[in-house]
């Protein structure tokens, strides 16, 4: 399977998914106008990838400074997908990374933790 790399724009994050290291990074802002269309190929890639990983340890780093409301929904749906994979025995760890001063992002991370109890989500202050 090929790595997925998408450069950031003013309103979409940088995507850096590496199948050798099993580290998936999403960094930046997310407020596209056609959010679900934008995330479709990214989510499709993840779905396909999850089929291939067996017992590999997967680390997902999400460092999202701004999320519009439709992006919140897109990430909610992504967590749904990851939770199913987790319940099937996949080894997935998620870091929700935020700036110390950004309590909006911190609260969003807390809500994801509360909503996806089975998932291994850790809040991390950006170092």
């Amino acid at each position: 399977m090929e790595n997925l790399n998408i450069e950031a724009t003013k309103y979409t994050p940088k995507i850096d998914f590496n199948v050798e290291t099993n580290i998936l990074n999403i960094i930046g802002k997310s407020y596209p106008e056609n959010t679900f269309e934008y995330y479709k190929p990214i989510v499709n890639w993840i779905e396909e990838y999850l089929e291939t990983i067996d017992d590999a340890v997967v680390l997902i780093n999400l460092d999202l400074e701004y999320l519009n409301s439709s992006s919140l929904k897109a990430y909610f749906d992504l967590f749904d997908l990851l939770e199913i994979a987790h319940d099937e025995g996949k080894n997935i760890t998620i870091n929700w990374i935020y700036d110390e001063e950004n309590d909006i992002s911190e609260e969003t991370g807390e809500d994801f933790i509360a909503d996806f109890e089975n998932l291994n989500i850790t809040l991390k202050i950006k170092g």
Binding site: Y11, E33, Y66, K73
Partner: protein, 179 residues
Amino acid sequence: MNISKIRNVMAEEGIVFSFSGMISQSLTSFMVETAKIQLQERGEDGKLIRNMFLIAIEQLQNIMSYSKDKDIGDGTKYTSPGVMVIGIDKEKNKYYVNSSNQIIESDRVKVSQKIHYINSLQRDELRKYLRDKLRSAEDKHERGAGVGFIEMAKRSSEKLEYDFEEVDNKLYFHIKTYI
């Protein structure tokens, strides 16, 4: 047209940023980033700026999606006429994001009911309501999760102010969100 009239009105209303015209995604980005820099230069607090940024995005993307005159380019890109201002209410000493666009009559009741319900909720209830809506996806449509007003309310220090105005047989929707 006397341009200084506009400048006077803006000074009276405490407006620090304003736009009127066709709103698109690239303009949305340009406007929120510019407003952010302006507030930073005024020495405003990071949290206030983040709230302004998110509220303005929701208002502008609402205009793009729901404006009656929206122009659906290739099915993924919309442009719509609208007005947005960001200013300081001198009495409340609070920033606000205020916008207006034309909507269709059948959206009037829908929007009123939605905002009326959101305005009845307390802060912790809003947080829960948003999560419930994200889970159920009942208001999801092709362009959004249908939760923009909830997000605006979460970022606001007051209830959402809104009204409808008929001018020359056209129906306009106004929304004002205080930070």
